[in-house]
């Protein structure tokens, strides 16, 4: 048996890596949302001044968020042993360009909206395994770059169905390392790919819910815990419909669902016309900033963040294939 793996899918980080620093940059719509004041920087426009493409802006958002996270604890990029990052663009180009700028050992990640938890899990492993002292993790998404790649051009007059989620324009960065105190990363549960045959790119919540169910169940089983051992179990991001489906699935199996929430539900207000809530790598990446703030304020002591990714490709989508989905969970604790 591997020593640090518990049960089938869960990893235990005995050295308790800490989240040393974090930051978030969001677009104007997210800034107007209920969490607006918890983000480090709110852009005035979805395009940064002087940029000729949304892709360039998204890349800068990711890069700037990492720079802010570094500057908060007076570190340099060179102090990081590894950089783990990903986004939604084909070939994760934003992460690649950001890594080029930072100039540190880089592992590119693709897990759609689960990219952040995938990154945090790997960061925990690198540190707990003794391979690194400090690891940077970033994830980003941008409404316009995602929409034009995965669905329609943004200026096309299409009606978004009520089941559609709104891709968050945002980037979040985290620095994981060793420290005596702070918010600690205790466990990670690596998910399996689940596919329930949903092929509608406008209904990713229903597609992703089974993956979240599977990972959360595996996590609780592996650790012998129950839902109530967590102050909040937060998925990122199933949206309104997906969360309803997930709760329904849990009800069917007799689990309580009181402390289940979703990043996609928190980021936009009901008046913001996002339909089924937020989605995208950027969603959980920026909402986690807010959650960590809540933890520091002692509003929550132990949370389980379950990043849920719809592994959607425009190519296979046009070929009529269904959407495989994955979910990774990380446990964060704070007793300071």
């Amino acid at each position: 048996m591997p020593e640090k793996k518990i049960g089938n899918q869960t990893l235990q980080f005995n050295s308790k890596p800490k989240l040393l620093s974090w930051s978030s940059i969001v677009g104007p719509m997210e800034g107007k949302g209920p969490l607006g004041k918890h983000f480090d920087l709110v852009l005035k426009d979805n395009l940064l001044e002087g940029d000729t493409s949304w892709e360039k802006t998204e890349q800068k958002m990711m890069q700037h968020s990492m720079e802010i996270a570094l500057e908060k604890i007076k570190l340099q990029a060179g102090d990081l042993d590894f950089y783990l990052a990903g986004d939604l663009l084909n070939q994760i180009m934003n992460a690649n360009f950001t890594a080029r700028f930072l100039g540190i050992s880089f592992l590119g990640l693709y897990g759609a909206c689960s990219t952040l938890t995938e990154g945090l899990s790997l960061a925990g492993m690198l540190i707990d395994g003794g391979f690194a002292k400090q690891v940077g993790v970033s994830a980003s998404s941008h409404y316009d770059t995602a929409e034009r790649q995965l669905r329609y051009p943004t200026e096309m007059g299409v009606q978004r169905p009520m089941t559609a989620q709104w891709t968050v324009t945002g980037a979040g960065s985290y620095i994981v390392g060793k420290a005596d105190s702070g918010i600690q990363l205790t466990h990670a549960t690596i998910g399996k790919v689940k596919d329930m045959g949903v092929s509608n790119a406008n209904d990713m919540g229903t597609a992703m819910a089974p993956a979240a169910l599977d990972t959360i169940k595996a996590h609780l089983q592996d650790l012998g815990r129950s839902m109530s051992d967590y102050d909040i179990i937060i998925t990122g991001d199933l949206g309104v419909l997906g969360t309803t489906v997930l709760k329904e699935l849990f009800h069917k199996e007799g689990y309580p669902t009181d402390n289940i929430s979703d990043c996609g539900l928190l980021i936009y207000g009901p008046d913001q016309d996002s339909h089924s809530g937020g989605s995208g790598c950027g969603c959980s990446s920026v909402v986690l900033n807010y959650l960590l703030g809540q933890m520091l304020n002692k509003k929550a002591r132990r949370i389980l963040l379950v990043g849920t990714g719809a592994l959607l490709s425009p190519v296979t989508s046009w070929q009529g294939e269904s959407i495989p989905c994955i979910a990774h969970g990380v446990v964060l604790e704070y007793y300071g």
């Binding site: 329609y152 200026e155 009606q159």
Partner: protein
């Protein structure tokens, strides 16, 4: 005024049918499907002689929707076939709709050149 009201009614109905097609069919009906469907559907109805009555009654209400574009294509091809035979059938459709196609391409190019997407 009656002409305008008739155009409103027939145009509205044609659009409402499109909306029902999008909302009530189990398939993922995209704008592309709707546009292609209306053009080909309009052409077929026109060939069967069912579209001309709509235009006679509703005027532009029946020609502004894309099914009207299909009607022009079909009538052009039929005219061409009558006057010039096989070659006419081949070229008649585009001849009848050439103004619209050219306008769409040219305006598309101009707007794409001078504007920037807002997102």
């Amino acid at each position: 005024m009656v002409v305008l009201l008739k155009a409103f009614i027939i145009g509205g109905i044609l659009c409402a049918v499109g909306q029902l097609l999008m909302d009530l069919t189990p398939f993922n009906v995209t704008p592309g499907h709707i546009l292609v469907g209306y053009v080909t559907g309009g052409a077929v109805l026109s060939a069967l002689g069912l579209y001309q009555p709509l235009i006679t009654w509703g005027g532009l209400g029946a020609t502004v929707p894309l099914s009207g574009f299909g009607h022009s294509l079909a009538q052009g091809a039929i005219e061409g076939a009558k006057n010039k035979g096989v070659l006419g059938a081949l070229g008649g459709g585009l001849e009848a709709t050439s103004i619209g196609v050219a306008a769409a391409v040219v305006f598309g190019l101009v707007v794409a050149t001078f504007f920037r997407p807002k997102g």
